[in-house]
Protein backbone atom coordinates (compact mmCIF):
# COMPACT_ATOMS: atom_id res chain seq x y z
CA UNK A 1 0.00 0.00 0.00
CA UNK A 2 1.38 3.35 -1.09
CA UNK A 3 -0.41 6.52 -0.01
CA UNK A 4 0.38 9.99 -1.31
CA UNK A 5 -1.25 12.98 0.33
CA UNK A 6 -0.92 16.41 -1.25
CA UNK A 7 2.52 15.40 -2.49
CA UNK A 8 4.36 18.39 -3.93
CA UNK A 9 7.91 18.82 -5.19
CA UNK A 10 9.40 22.03 -6.52
CA UNK A 11 12.86 22.36 -8.00
CA UNK A 12 13.50 26.08 -7.83
CA UNK A 13 10.68 27.77 -9.72
CA UNK A 14 9.65 24.58 -11.47
CA UNK A 15 6.92 22.45 -9.92
CA UNK A 16 7.49 18.82 -10.83
CA UNK A 17 4.77 17.31 -8.65
CA UNK A 18 1.80 19.39 -7.65
CA UNK A 19 -0.48 18.33 -4.82
CA UNK A 20 -0.71 14.69 -5.84
CA UNK A 21 -2.94 12.42 -3.74
CA UNK A 22 -3.51 8.77 -4.53
CA UNK A 23 -3.56 5.29 -3.03
CA UNK A 24 -1.91 2.27 -4.60
CA UNK A 25 -3.61 -0.88 -3.34
CA UNK A 26 -2.13 -4.32 -2.86
CA UNK A 27 -3.21 -7.28 -4.95
CA UNK A 28 -3.37 -5.52 -8.30
CA UNK A 29 -0.97 -3.96 -10.76
CA UNK A 30 -1.42 -0.20 -10.68
CA UNK A 31 -0.17 1.80 -13.62
CA UNK A 32 1.23 5.29 -13.30
CA UNK A 33 0.71 7.01 -16.60
CA UNK A 34 1.62 10.38 -17.96
CA UNK A 35 3.48 12.09 -20.76
CA UNK A 36 7.20 12.71 -20.44
CA UNK A 37 7.85 15.35 -17.81
CA UNK A 38 4.56 14.74 -16.02
CA UNK A 39 6.36 14.05 -12.74
CA UNK A 40 6.25 10.25 -12.72
CA UNK A 41 9.92 9.70 -12.00
CA UNK A 42 9.96 12.48 -9.43
CA UNK A 43 6.99 10.91 -7.65
CA UNK A 44 8.83 7.59 -7.53
CA UNK A 45 11.95 9.29 -6.16
CA UNK A 46 9.72 10.88 -3.47
CA UNK A 47 8.23 7.48 -2.61
CA UNK A 48 11.74 6.08 -2.16
CA UNK A 49 12.95 9.00 -0.08
CA UNK A 50 15.62 9.95 -2.59
CA UNK A 51 14.09 13.42 -2.81
CA UNK A 52 12.31 15.18 0.03
CA UNK A 53 8.84 16.55 -0.75
CA UNK A 54 8.37 20.34 -0.66
CA UNK A 55 4.93 19.72 0.83
CA UNK A 56 2.64 16.79 1.54
CA UNK A 57 3.76 13.26 2.24
CA UNK A 58 3.97 9.79 0.82
CA UNK A 59 4.06 6.60 2.85
CA UNK A 60 4.64 2.93 2.16
CA UNK A 61 2.65 0.58 4.38
CA UNK A 62 1.90 3.51 6.63
CA UNK A 63 5.38 4.87 7.22
CA UNK A 64 7.77 7.15 5.42
CA UNK A 65 10.31 5.22 3.35
CA UNK A 66 13.24 6.55 5.37
CA UNK A 67 11.63 5.15 8.55
CA UNK A 68 11.44 1.59 7.21
CA UNK A 69 13.67 -0.69 9.25
CA UNK A 70 14.25 -3.15 6.43
CA UNK A 71 13.57 -1.11 3.29
CA UNK A 72 14.59 -3.72 0.73
CA UNK A 73 12.35 -6.22 2.52
CA UNK A 74 9.37 -3.91 2.16
CA UNK A 75 9.93 -2.11 -1.12
CA UNK A 76 11.69 -3.21 -4.28
CA UNK A 77 12.50 -0.43 -6.69
CA UNK A 78 13.56 -0.19 -10.29
CA UNK A 79 14.39 3.38 -11.23
CA UNK A 80 14.44 4.65 -14.76
CA UNK A 81 17.85 6.20 -14.31
CA UNK A 82 20.56 3.58 -13.99
CA UNK A 83 21.58 2.91 -10.44
CA UNK A 84 24.49 0.52 -10.64
CA UNK A 85 28.26 1.04 -10.64
CA UNK A 86 29.36 -0.04 -14.11
CA UNK A 87 32.77 -1.19 -12.90
CA UNK A 88 31.28 -3.96 -10.78
CA UNK A 89 29.92 -7.34 -11.86
CA UNK A 90 26.18 -8.01 -11.73
CA UNK A 91 26.67 -10.57 -8.96
CA UNK A 92 28.86 -8.30 -6.82
CA UNK A 93 26.40 -5.43 -7.28
CA UNK A 94 23.60 -7.60 -5.93
CA UNK A 95 25.83 -9.02 -3.17
CA UNK A 96 26.58 -5.49 -1.94
CA UNK A 97 22.89 -4.57 -1.82
CA UNK A 98 21.94 -7.93 -0.31
CA UNK A 99 24.44 -7.44 2.51
CA UNK A 100 22.57 -4.38 3.84
CA UNK A 101 19.56 -6.50 4.71
CA UNK A 102 21.19 -9.87 5.35
CA UNK A 103 20.00 -11.61 2.19
CA UNK A 104 22.21 -14.68 1.58
CA UNK A 105 24.40 -14.90 -1.52
CA UNK A 106 22.50 -18.06 -2.52
CA UNK A 107 19.45 -15.90 -3.18
CA UNK A 108 21.55 -13.53 -5.29
CA UNK A 109 22.57 -16.46 -7.49
CA UNK A 110 18.98 -17.74 -7.67
CA UNK A 111 17.71 -14.33 -8.72
CA UNK A 112 20.40 -13.99 -11.38
CA UNK A 113 19.25 -17.34 -12.71
CA UNK A 114 15.61 -16.26 -12.61
CA UNK A 115 16.14 -13.00 -14.53
CA UNK A 116 18.33 -14.78 -17.06
CA UNK A 117 21.66 -13.17 -16.17
CA UNK A 118 23.41 -16.22 -14.70
CA UNK A 119 25.74 -16.46 -17.71
CA UNK A 120 26.95 -12.89 -17.36
CA UNK A 121 26.84 -12.72 -13.56
CA UNK A 122 30.59 -12.23 -13.33
CA UNK A 123 30.87 -9.76 -16.19
CA UNK A 124 31.22 -6.02 -15.69
CA UNK A 125 27.91 -4.21 -15.88
CA UNK A 126 29.65 -1.71 -18.20
CA UNK A 127 29.09 -4.05 -21.16
CA UNK A 128 25.40 -4.68 -20.46
CA UNK A 129 22.69 -3.82 -22.97
CA UNK A 130 19.66 -1.79 -21.89
CA UNK A 131 17.64 -4.99 -21.60
CA UNK A 132 20.28 -6.63 -19.39
CA UNK A 133 20.33 -3.52 -17.21
CA UNK A 134 16.57 -3.82 -16.79
CA UNK A 135 16.85 -7.48 -15.83
CA UNK A 136 19.54 -6.65 -13.28
CA UNK A 137 17.29 -3.89 -11.95
CA UNK A 138 14.42 -6.36 -11.57
CA UNK A 139 16.70 -8.78 -9.71
CA UNK A 140 17.77 -5.94 -7.38
CA UNK A 141 14.14 -5.01 -6.79
CA UNK A 142 13.27 -8.59 -5.83
CA UNK A 143 16.30 -9.10 -3.55
CA UNK A 144 14.43 -8.67 -0.28
CA UNK A 145 11.22 -10.37 -1.49
CA UNK A 146 9.36 -7.07 -0.96
CA UNK A 147 5.62 -6.59 -0.39
CA UNK A 148 5.69 -3.50 -2.57
CA UNK A 149 7.28 -2.98 -5.96
CA UNK A 150 7.89 0.42 -7.49
CA UNK A 151 9.06 0.23 -11.07
CA UNK A 152 9.80 3.16 -13.35
CA UNK A 153 9.31 2.24 -17.03
CA UNK A 154 10.26 -1.41 -16.49
CA UNK A 155 9.69 -2.52 -20.08
CA UNK A 156 12.06 0.11 -21.44
CA UNK A 157 14.67 -1.50 -23.62
CA UNK A 158 13.36 -5.03 -23.24
CA UNK A 159 12.82 -7.23 -26.28
CA UNK A 160 9.33 -8.70 -26.90
CA UNK A 161 10.21 -11.88 -25.00
CA UNK A 162 11.49 -9.79 -22.08
CA UNK A 163 8.38 -7.63 -22.10
CA UNK A 164 6.14 -10.70 -21.95
CA UNK A 165 8.28 -12.09 -19.16
CA UNK A 166 8.07 -8.96 -17.03
CA UNK A 167 4.30 -8.60 -17.56
CA UNK A 168 3.79 -12.16 -16.38
CA UNK A 169 6.10 -11.63 -13.44
CA UNK A 170 4.36 -8.44 -12.31
CA UNK A 171 0.91 -9.98 -12.60
CA UNK A 172 1.95 -13.05 -10.62
CA UNK A 173 3.53 -10.84 -7.94
CA UNK A 174 0.31 -8.83 -7.68
CA UNK A 175 -1.73 -12.04 -7.58
CA UNK A 176 0.26 -13.02 -4.48
CA UNK A 177 -1.17 -9.95 -2.80
CA UNK A 178 1.71 -7.56 -3.33
CA UNK A 179 1.43 -3.91 -4.25
CA UNK A 180 2.80 -3.36 -7.75
CA UNK A 181 3.18 0.20 -8.98
CA UNK A 182 4.69 0.79 -12.38
CA UNK A 183 5.02 3.83 -14.56
CA UNK A 184 4.84 4.14 -18.28
CA UNK A 185 4.15 6.81 -20.87
CA UNK A 186 2.40 4.25 -23.07
CA UNK A 187 -1.31 3.62 -22.47
CA UNK A 188 -1.15 0.43 -24.52
CA UNK A 189 1.45 -0.92 -22.11
CA UNK A 190 -0.85 -0.19 -19.19
CA UNK A 191 -3.78 -1.91 -20.88
CA UNK A 192 -1.71 -5.06 -21.12
CA UNK A 193 -0.42 -5.10 -17.56
CA UNK A 194 -2.35 -2.90 -15.19
CA UNK A 195 -5.85 -3.07 -13.71
CA UNK A 196 -5.94 0.37 -12.18
CA UNK A 197 -4.32 3.44 -13.68
CA UNK A 198 -3.32 6.73 -12.12
CA UNK A 199 -2.90 9.37 -14.80
CA UNK A 200 -0.85 12.50 -14.22
CA UNK A 201 0.02 15.52 -16.31
CA UNK A 202 2.14 18.52 -15.38
CA UNK A 203 2.54 17.01 -11.93
CA UNK A 204 -1.19 16.97 -11.23
CA UNK A 205 -3.59 14.09 -10.89
CA UNK A 206 -5.80 13.79 -13.97
CA UNK A 207 -7.55 10.50 -13.31
CA UNK A 208 -7.44 7.48 -11.02
CA UNK A 209 -9.65 4.73 -12.44
CA UNK A 210 -9.77 1.15 -13.68
CA UNK A 211 -8.03 0.65 -17.03
CA UNK A 212 -11.27 -0.69 -18.50
CA UNK A 213 -12.95 2.66 -17.77
CA UNK A 214 -10.28 4.54 -19.66
CA UNK A 215 -10.91 2.39 -22.68
CA UNK A 216 -14.69 2.79 -22.43
CA UNK A 217 -14.52 6.50 -21.83
CA UNK A 218 -12.34 7.02 -24.84
CA UNK A 219 -14.10 4.70 -27.19
CA UNK A 220 -17.36 6.61 -26.66
CA UNK A 221 -18.99 3.35 -27.75
CA UNK A 222 -19.31 4.22 -31.39
CA UNK A 223 -20.56 1.49 -33.69
CA UNK A 224 -20.14 1.64 -37.43
CA UNK A 225 -22.97 0.09 -39.45
CA UNK A 226 -22.99 -0.77 -43.15
CA UNK A 227 -26.33 -1.53 -44.69
CA UNK A 228 -28.01 -1.01 -48.09
CA UNK A 229 -31.05 0.31 -46.11
CA UNK A 230 -29.09 3.06 -44.38
CA UNK A 231 -31.78 5.71 -44.59
CA UNK A 232 -34.41 3.35 -43.16
CA UNK A 233 -32.18 2.36 -40.22
CA UNK A 234 -31.23 5.94 -39.61
CA UNK A 235 -34.89 6.84 -39.27
CA UNK A 236 -35.56 3.98 -36.86
CA UNK A 237 -32.60 4.92 -34.66
CA UNK A 238 -33.48 8.59 -34.71
CA UNK A 239 -37.00 7.67 -33.52
CA UNK A 240 -35.39 6.07 -30.49
CA UNK A 241 -33.34 9.24 -29.85
CA UNK A 242 -30.08 7.51 -30.71
CA UNK A 243 -27.34 9.70 -32.18
CA UNK A 244 -26.63 8.72 -35.76
CA UNK A 245 -24.19 10.25 -38.21
CA UNK A 246 -24.22 9.21 -41.86
CA UNK A 247 -20.72 8.51 -43.12
CA UNK A 248 -21.50 7.35 -46.66
CA UNK A 249 -24.57 6.29 -48.64
CA UNK A 250 -24.49 2.87 -47.02
CA UNK A 251 -22.66 3.70 -43.77
CA UNK A 252 -23.74 5.09 -40.39
CA UNK A 253 -21.87 5.89 -37.21
CA UNK A 254 -24.05 5.17 -34.18
CA UNK A 255 -23.23 6.47 -30.72
CA UNK A 256 -24.37 5.39 -27.30
CA UNK A 257 -25.76 1.93 -27.95
CA UNK A 258 -24.11 -1.46 -28.22
CA UNK A 259 -23.75 -3.30 -31.50
CA UNK A 260 -26.06 -5.99 -30.04
CA UNK A 261 -28.87 -3.44 -29.56
CA UNK A 262 -28.43 -2.13 -33.09
CA UNK A 263 -28.51 -5.67 -34.46
CA UNK A 264 -31.74 -6.33 -32.55
CA UNK A 265 -33.41 -3.18 -33.92
CA UNK A 266 -32.33 -4.18 -37.44
CA UNK A 267 -33.63 -7.72 -36.98
CA UNK A 268 -37.01 -6.57 -35.70
CA UNK A 269 -37.38 -4.32 -38.73
CA UNK A 270 -35.99 -6.78 -41.28
CA UNK A 271 -33.03 -4.58 -42.18
CA UNK A 272 -30.12 -6.29 -43.91
CA UNK A 273 -26.84 -5.53 -42.10
CA UNK A 274 -23.62 -6.05 -44.04
CA UNK A 275 -21.24 -4.87 -41.31
CA UNK A 276 -21.63 -4.07 -37.62
CA UNK A 277 -18.35 -2.90 -36.12
CA UNK A 278 -17.71 -1.45 -32.66
CA UNK A 279 -15.12 1.30 -33.17
CA UNK A 280 -12.60 1.49 -30.37
CA UNK A 281 -10.59 4.64 -30.27
CA UNK A 282 -7.00 3.59 -29.87
CA UNK A 283 -5.74 3.56 -26.33
CA UNK A 284 -3.14 6.13 -27.18
CA UNK A 285 -5.93 8.40 -28.40
CA UNK A 286 -7.81 7.80 -25.18
CA UNK A 287 -4.76 8.73 -23.22
CA UNK A 288 -4.06 11.79 -25.36
CA UNK A 289 -7.64 12.96 -24.93
CA UNK A 290 -7.24 12.72 -21.18
CA UNK A 291 -3.90 14.47 -21.05
CA UNK A 292 -4.27 16.91 -23.92
CA UNK A 293 -4.02 19.96 -21.70
CA UNK A 294 -1.24 18.52 -19.63
CA UNK A 295 1.38 17.72 -22.21
CA UNK A 296 4.37 19.72 -21.21
CA UNK A 297 6.54 19.46 -24.27
CA UNK A 298 3.79 19.30 -26.87
CA UNK A 299 4.94 20.72 -30.21
CA UNK A 300 3.10 23.87 -31.26
CA UNK A 301 0.41 22.80 -33.70
CA UNK A 302 0.45 24.63 -36.99
CA UNK A 303 -3.06 25.95 -37.75
CA UNK A 304 -3.02 24.27 -41.16
CA UNK A 305 -2.40 20.92 -39.49
CA UNK A 306 -5.21 21.16 -36.99
CA UNK A 307 -8.12 18.90 -37.65
CA UNK A 308 -5.95 16.43 -39.48
CA UNK A 309 -7.46 13.02 -38.73
CA UNK A 310 -5.35 11.10 -36.33
Amino acid sequence: MIEAEGLTKRYGAKTAVDGLSFVVRPGIVTGFLGPNGAGKSTTMRLILGLDAPTAGSVTVNGSRYARLRAPLREVGALLEARSVHTGRSARNHLRALAATTGVPTKRVDDLLEMVGLADVAHKWVRGFSLGMHQRLGVAAALLGDPHTLVLDEPVNGLDPEGIRWIRGLLRSLAAEGRTVFLSSHLMSEMAQTAEQVIIVGKGRLIADLPVADVINRASGSTVEVRTPQADELRGLLADRRIAVTPIAADRLAVNGVSSSDIGLIALENRIHLVELTPVLASLEEAFMDLTRDAVEFGGATHPALEGTPR
Binding site: L48, R82, S83, T101
Partner: protein, 271 residues
Amino acid sequence: MTASTEYLISSAGSGEVTLARTIKSEWVKFGTLWSNRLLAATAVLGMVGIGWVASFFTNHDWDHLRPRQIARFDAVDTSLNGWNLAQLAIGVLGVILVTGEYGTGMIRATLTAVPTRRPVLWAKLVVLTVVAAVLMTATSFTAFLGGQLFLGSHSTTLGAPNVLRVVIATGLYLTLVAVLGLAFGTLLRNTAAGIACFIGILLVLPAITDVLPSSWQDTVVKYLPSNAGQAALTVKADPALLAPWTGMAVFACYVVAALVCAAVTLTRRDA
Protein backbone atom coordinates in the same frame (compact mmCIF):
# COMPACT_ATOMS: atom_id res chain seq x y z
CA MET B 1 7.74 -18.97 -12.35
CA THR B 2 5.32 -19.53 -9.49
CA ALA B 3 7.39 -22.33 -8.04
CA SER B 4 10.59 -20.31 -8.12
CA THR B 5 8.83 -17.26 -6.70
CA GLU B 6 7.54 -19.32 -3.79
CA TYR B 7 10.99 -20.66 -3.15
CA LEU B 8 12.49 -17.20 -3.30
CA ILE B 9 10.06 -15.96 -0.66
CA SER B 10 11.44 -18.39 1.86
CA SER B 11 15.08 -17.52 1.26
CA ALA B 12 14.94 -13.77 1.93
CA GLY B 13 14.85 -13.81 5.72
CA SER B 14 13.96 -10.78 7.83
CA GLY B 15 16.48 -8.11 7.26
CA GLU B 16 16.75 -5.07 9.42
CA VAL B 17 19.42 -2.66 8.21
CA THR B 18 22.14 -2.27 10.82
CA LEU B 19 25.45 -0.45 10.83
CA ALA B 20 27.25 -3.82 10.81
CA ARG B 21 25.35 -4.88 7.70
CA THR B 22 26.01 -1.55 6.05
CA ILE B 23 29.72 -1.95 6.79
CA LYS B 24 29.63 -5.41 5.26
CA SER B 25 27.93 -4.00 2.17
CA GLU B 26 30.55 -1.27 1.87
CA TRP B 27 33.27 -3.86 2.36
CA VAL B 28 31.89 -5.89 -0.56
CA LYS B 29 31.69 -2.71 -2.65
CA PHE B 30 35.23 -1.69 -1.77
CA GLY B 31 36.73 -5.03 -2.69
CA THR B 32 34.90 -5.45 -5.97
CA LEU B 33 36.11 -2.41 -7.89
CA TRP B 34 39.38 -2.48 -9.80
CA SER B 35 39.77 1.28 -9.53
CA ASN B 36 39.98 0.98 -5.73
CA ARG B 37 42.63 -1.72 -5.88
CA LEU B 38 44.58 0.23 -8.48
CA LEU B 39 44.67 3.38 -6.36
CA ALA B 40 45.57 1.46 -3.20
CA ALA B 41 48.33 -0.35 -5.10
CA THR B 42 49.58 2.97 -6.51
CA ALA B 43 49.82 4.42 -3.01
CA VAL B 44 51.63 1.37 -1.62
CA LEU B 45 53.97 0.60 -4.52
CA GLY B 46 54.57 4.27 -5.29
CA MET B 47 55.66 5.09 -1.76
CA VAL B 48 57.75 1.97 -1.28
CA GLY B 49 59.27 2.26 -4.76
CA ILE B 50 60.19 5.92 -4.48
CA GLY B 51 61.65 5.41 -1.00
CA TRP B 52 63.71 2.39 -1.98
CA VAL B 53 64.98 3.83 -5.27
CA ALA B 54 65.87 7.16 -3.65
CA SER B 55 67.65 5.36 -0.82
CA PHE B 56 69.53 3.07 -3.18
CA PHE B 57 70.79 5.87 -5.42
CA THR B 58 71.61 8.20 -2.53
CA ASN B 59 73.87 5.52 -1.10
CA HIS B 60 75.21 4.50 -4.53
CA ASP B 61 76.02 8.09 -5.60
CA TRP B 62 77.05 9.34 -2.17
CA ASP B 63 80.58 10.25 -3.31
CA HIS B 64 79.19 12.40 -6.15
CA LEU B 65 76.67 14.32 -4.04
CA ARG B 66 77.21 18.04 -3.63
CA PRO B 67 78.05 19.23 -0.08
CA ARG B 68 74.75 21.06 0.06
CA GLN B 69 72.88 17.82 -0.64
CA ILE B 70 74.86 15.98 1.98
CA ALA B 71 74.17 18.73 4.51
CA ARG B 72 70.45 18.39 3.86
CA PHE B 73 70.50 14.59 3.83
CA ASP B 74 68.02 12.89 6.14
CA ALA B 75 67.90 9.10 6.14
CA VAL B 76 64.24 9.02 7.28
CA ASP B 77 63.07 11.61 4.77
CA THR B 78 64.90 9.92 1.90
CA SER B 79 63.17 6.59 2.51
CA LEU B 80 59.69 8.08 3.20
CA ASN B 81 59.57 10.82 0.57
CA GLY B 82 57.08 8.78 -1.43
CA TRP B 83 54.26 9.99 0.84
CA ASN B 84 53.86 12.89 -1.60
CA LEU B 85 52.65 10.48 -4.26
CA ALA B 86 50.85 8.21 -1.79
CA GLN B 87 48.73 11.08 -0.43
CA LEU B 88 47.44 11.81 -3.93
CA ALA B 89 46.52 8.18 -4.64
CA ILE B 90 44.94 7.47 -1.26
CA GLY B 91 43.13 10.83 -1.21
CA VAL B 92 41.66 10.22 -4.66
CA LEU B 93 40.60 6.76 -3.44
CA GLY B 94 38.68 8.47 -0.62
CA VAL B 95 37.04 10.87 -3.07
CA ILE B 96 35.93 8.26 -5.62
CA LEU B 97 34.56 5.96 -2.93
CA VAL B 98 31.60 8.36 -2.92
CA THR B 99 31.76 10.24 -6.22
CA GLY B 100 32.04 6.97 -8.17
CA GLU B 101 28.56 6.18 -6.84
CA TYR B 102 27.15 9.55 -7.83
CA GLY B 103 28.78 9.37 -11.25
CA THR B 104 27.30 5.97 -12.09
CA GLY B 105 23.98 6.35 -10.28
CA MET B 106 24.86 3.59 -7.79
CA ILE B 107 24.15 6.10 -5.01
CA ARG B 108 20.40 5.75 -5.73
CA ALA B 109 20.60 2.01 -5.07
CA THR B 110 22.76 2.61 -1.99
CA LEU B 111 20.46 5.22 -0.45
CA THR B 112 17.37 3.17 -1.26
CA ALA B 113 18.91 0.27 0.64
CA VAL B 114 19.98 2.48 3.56
CA PRO B 115 17.51 5.38 3.52
CA THR B 116 18.75 6.91 6.77
CA ARG B 117 21.88 7.68 4.71
CA ARG B 118 24.38 8.57 7.44
CA PRO B 119 25.21 4.91 8.17
CA VAL B 120 26.47 4.73 4.57
CA LEU B 121 29.00 7.47 5.30
CA TRP B 122 30.03 5.89 8.61
CA ALA B 123 30.37 2.48 6.94
CA LYS B 124 32.53 3.92 4.17
CA LEU B 125 34.53 5.72 6.86
CA VAL B 126 35.14 2.49 8.78
CA VAL B 127 36.14 0.50 5.69
CA LEU B 128 38.39 3.25 4.32
CA THR B 129 40.00 4.00 7.69
CA VAL B 130 40.79 0.35 8.36
CA VAL B 131 42.15 -0.23 4.86
CA ALA B 132 44.13 3.02 4.75
CA ALA B 133 45.50 2.71 8.30
CA VAL B 134 46.67 -0.88 7.79
CA LEU B 135 48.04 -0.32 4.29
CA MET B 136 49.66 3.05 4.88
CA THR B 137 51.23 2.14 8.22
CA ALA B 138 52.61 -1.07 6.73
CA THR B 139 53.78 0.88 3.69
CA SER B 140 55.48 3.48 5.86
CA PHE B 141 57.37 0.80 7.79
CA THR B 142 58.22 -1.12 4.61
CA ALA B 143 59.50 2.00 2.84
CA PHE B 144 61.53 2.98 5.89
CA LEU B 145 63.04 -0.41 6.73
CA GLY B 146 63.83 -1.28 3.10
CA GLY B 147 65.13 2.22 2.53
CA GLN B 148 67.55 1.94 5.47
CA LEU B 149 68.79 -1.35 4.04
CA PHE B 150 69.54 0.38 0.72
CA LEU B 151 71.13 3.37 2.47
CA GLY B 152 73.81 1.07 3.91
CA SER B 153 76.27 3.03 6.05
CA HIS B 154 74.13 6.19 5.85
CA SER B 155 71.09 4.55 7.38
CA THR B 156 69.42 5.15 10.70
CA THR B 157 67.21 2.95 12.92
CA LEU B 158 63.74 3.05 14.43
CA GLY B 159 65.43 3.46 17.79
CA ALA B 160 67.02 6.79 16.87
CA PRO B 161 65.32 9.90 18.36
CA ASN B 162 61.95 10.76 16.78
CA VAL B 163 62.32 8.21 13.95
CA LEU B 164 59.55 5.86 15.12
CA ARG B 165 57.31 8.91 15.57
CA VAL B 166 57.87 9.97 11.95
CA VAL B 167 57.24 6.48 10.55
CA ILE B 168 53.98 6.08 12.51
CA ALA B 169 52.89 9.67 11.84
CA THR B 170 53.36 9.17 8.09
CA GLY B 171 50.91 6.25 8.11
CA LEU B 172 48.50 8.24 10.28
CA TYR B 173 48.75 11.36 8.08
CA LEU B 174 48.00 9.34 4.94
CA THR B 175 45.00 7.70 6.67
CA LEU B 176 43.62 11.12 7.59
CA VAL B 177 44.23 12.30 4.02
CA ALA B 178 42.11 9.38 2.74
CA VAL B 179 39.29 10.33 5.12
CA LEU B 180 39.56 13.97 4.02
CA GLY B 181 39.09 12.75 0.43
CA LEU B 182 35.99 10.82 1.54
CA ALA B 183 34.54 13.97 3.12
CA PHE B 184 35.26 16.09 0.04
CA GLY B 185 33.74 13.44 -2.20
CA THR B 186 30.56 13.36 -0.10
CA LEU B 187 30.34 17.16 -0.01
CA LEU B 188 30.95 17.73 -3.72
CA ARG B 189 29.46 14.50 -5.20
CA ASN B 190 31.55 14.89 -8.34
CA THR B 191 34.89 13.21 -8.99
CA ALA B 192 36.57 16.09 -10.80
CA ALA B 193 35.37 18.66 -8.27
CA GLY B 194 36.31 16.43 -5.35
CA ILE B 195 39.84 15.80 -6.59
CA ALA B 196 40.34 19.46 -7.55
CA CYS B 197 39.24 20.62 -4.11
CA PHE B 198 41.41 18.01 -2.43
CA ILE B 199 44.51 18.97 -4.43
CA GLY B 200 43.68 22.65 -4.04
CA ILE B 201 43.65 22.47 -0.26
CA LEU B 202 46.57 20.10 0.24
CA LEU B 203 48.94 21.28 -2.51
CA VAL B 204 47.89 24.62 -3.97
CA LEU B 205 46.82 26.48 -0.83
CA PRO B 206 50.29 26.32 0.83
CA ALA B 207 51.85 27.64 -2.41
CA ILE B 208 49.39 30.53 -2.61
CA THR B 209 50.00 31.58 0.98
CA ASP B 210 53.68 32.04 0.16
CA VAL B 211 52.80 35.43 -1.32
CA LEU B 212 51.06 36.61 1.84
CA PRO B 213 52.79 39.26 3.97
CA SER B 214 55.35 37.62 6.26
CA SER B 215 53.46 38.68 9.40
CA TRP B 216 50.47 36.68 8.13
CA GLN B 217 52.64 33.78 7.14
CA ASP B 218 53.92 33.29 10.67
CA THR B 219 50.44 33.03 12.09
CA VAL B 220 48.35 31.53 9.28
CA VAL B 221 50.59 29.20 7.32
CA LYS B 222 51.29 26.71 10.07
CA TYR B 223 47.57 26.20 10.60
CA LEU B 224 46.90 25.19 7.00
CA PRO B 225 45.67 21.58 6.88
CA SER B 226 48.65 20.28 4.93
CA ASN B 227 51.28 22.11 6.98
CA ALA B 228 49.66 21.12 10.24
CA GLY B 229 49.47 17.46 9.26
CA GLN B 230 52.95 17.35 7.81
CA ALA B 231 54.56 18.89 10.90
CA ALA B 232 55.00 15.40 12.32
CA LEU B 233 56.64 14.00 9.20
CA THR B 234 60.16 15.32 9.89
CA VAL B 235 62.65 14.13 12.49
CA LYS B 236 63.86 17.64 13.25
CA ALA B 237 60.83 19.77 14.12
CA ASP B 238 60.47 22.79 11.79
CA PRO B 239 60.25 25.91 14.01
CA ALA B 240 57.91 27.54 11.46
CA LEU B 241 55.41 24.73 11.93
CA LEU B 242 53.34 23.48 14.85
CA ALA B 243 54.72 20.85 17.25
CA PRO B 244 54.41 17.39 15.62
CA TRP B 245 51.44 15.93 17.48
CA THR B 246 49.77 19.31 17.89
CA GLY B 247 49.91 19.68 14.13
CA MET B 248 48.48 16.21 13.62
CA ALA B 249 45.66 17.00 16.04
CA VAL B 250 44.90 20.22 14.16
CA PHE B 251 44.82 18.29 10.87
CA ALA B 252 42.53 15.68 12.44
CA CYS B 253 40.20 18.52 13.52
CA TYR B 254 39.98 19.72 9.92
CA VAL B 255 39.16 16.18 8.79
CA VAL B 256 36.47 15.76 11.46
CA ALA B 257 34.97 19.15 10.55
CA ALA B 258 34.82 18.16 6.86
CA LEU B 259 33.20 14.84 7.83
CA VAL B 260 30.56 16.59 9.94
CA CYS B 261 29.72 18.90 7.02
CA ALA B 262 29.54 15.83 4.75
CA ALA B 263 27.21 14.01 7.16
CA VAL B 264 24.93 17.04 7.45
CA THR B 265 24.65 17.65 3.68
CA LEU B 266 24.19 13.95 2.94
CA THR B 267 20.81 13.86 4.66
CA ARG B 268 19.70 17.34 3.65
CA ARG B 269 20.13 17.14 -0.09
CA ASP B 270 18.10 15.27 -2.67
CA ALA B 271 20.06 12.32 -3.99
